[in-house]
Amino acid sequence: MSLLECRNLSVRYRTPRGELRAVDEVSFTLDRGQCLGLVGESGSGKTQTCLALAGLLSDSAIVEGSIRFEGEELLGTGRQAWNRLRGRRIAMIFQDPMTALTPHLTVGSQLCELLRVHEQQDQIAARRRALEIMERVRIADPERRFSMYPFELSGGMRQRIMIALALILKPALVLADEPTTALDVTVQADVLGIFRAVIEHTGTAILLVTHDLGVVAGTCDQVMVMYAGRTLETAPVESLFASPRHPYSRALLDCLPRSDQPRALTMPAIEGQPPDLVALPPGCAFAPRCAHAQADCVSECPPLISLDSGRVACWHPLSGYDPGRDQGDPA
């Protein structure tokens, strides 16, 4: 049994202009000790998926499908069921470490609060556990930092506290929504190192939402590429990077500037704009921007089919082997 099984998850909103499908029939599973990367541009539905899994969507969202966590169906259960799980079994790390911490409480008391509420620990035991976890997320001088307020800490330090808050109750699943986007590269490398250590040592599963394929490459086992609320491709990380089957995955990889490769005159870019979610084209959502699009792409939406080790939603998937890949810059 998988830790998390998400089947045909849809998140819809009613807007004055019509129905908006933020997440459209998304399915995936996540096992213990695994890291799944959710990749996409803004508006692709990755954060909405994440919030749906944490039960944090607003009341106006219409959520359908099934989310099974540790064998238990979560959709349709009440607020109390979520409250039992959130924090303890499912933890979340948000993008902005500045606003996600309570400004008028010391970081130590925020850490201890979790232990007192969920595990009824006394002050002394809670403090000891809090200091332990602060050391685990590589906070130097935890004793002194324990009694500091968030504003006294740097951005990287605050994000470490966020991770400590997420991990302190040893959750089975951590939902990390763009956890390193607001950080400097050097701090990002350190934070990703912490994630890898956590997966190795505690078997916690991580759902890592990011728009940065470089972050995915070093951290995740599986990748799911989203576009306009739909899954376009899921694959093990090695095969996605070596031979992406969906033209969008390929284009995303190609338009990344790389510091380890010589400079090209023009970068391959994906022309056009992401589609309007209220007025999606009838066929493949990516077809208007796709270089390989043909007539059938525009008329009918491709289903998600199994291909090699992954799944892809494309009428004309790219071939598995791409000789251009090994020669460095595809331009």
Binding site: V185, T186, D212, V237, C255, L256, P257, R258, S259, P274
Partner: protein, 328 residues
Amino acid sequence: MSSSTPLLQLNDVRVHFPVRGEAHRQGLSVKAVDGVSCQLQPGQTLGVVGESGCGKSTLARTVLKLVPLTSGKILWRGKDVNTFTVHEMQSLRRDVRMIFQDPYASLNPRMTVGEQIGEPLALFHPEWSAATRQTQVADIMQRVGLRPELANRYPHEFSGGQCQRANIARALIGQPKLLICDESVSALDVSIRAQILNLLSELQRELGIACLFISHDLSVIRHVSDQVLVLYLGKTMEYRTADALFSDARHPYTRALLDAAPVPDPARERSRPRTVLQGELPSPLQPPSGCVFRTRCPQATVRCGVRIPDFHSVEGGVTACHLLESSP
């Protein structure tokens, strides 16, 4: 003007900000930029890279005199900016235009995009008729990939990428000689970022505009720059041509930045050794003695704490590191 005169030259530029309270009584100040020298030739791109708080943005602002200089000189086409008359300053602000990070925040939500793009013309060419201005706006919008019909729309109707195109159009309409891009693509999605980077380099080639490109992202810097300036706590760590810097970084800080930047290649990501920097950026109020980077440098020795390293000539530029002294 001879071709050897740089468009922009910075000589030992220092910007120190006064502080209040206890630190002030101790005679301390925040050394945001501390002795930076560099130059930019017409049509070239200088990339400025470093972590947050290293003085990248302050450096850009001093060029436009948005921040007062503590000491040092900024020469615009060989002439000291500090001695500029009001009139010369106006023409400088027309020749040097800035594009900021947040595409929405840098547009006025209550003006149409067309009005904002054309606004500089009202200043630069007050004699032009509204019709002439409109044709100019339509031209430049076409140039940056915005349909001229969109001129009557408001910024909130635009996507992030479109807003950034509008910002570029507004910067270009006065035919500047230097564009300062302060993290101009950092807030954009990957696919849109590639579009905007291509647009910028295309415009640069065609119009011969020089560019001061500020970013924390080394891969973007690699893509756009001819020369790169690596800053740390307001000081130059390495200043070299992009090709030399990226093929053989000599400063431990540059190497750490390069190692920390994630590469979209799983095998490489998992196998390569990481020299992740230890600790935090020290307070700019009390920077470390000697080399400012020594507190986080994996190769620091006693010597680094004693003396400020000199600039050593390396291929394509200079590097400020004591390690280069012992090596031939």
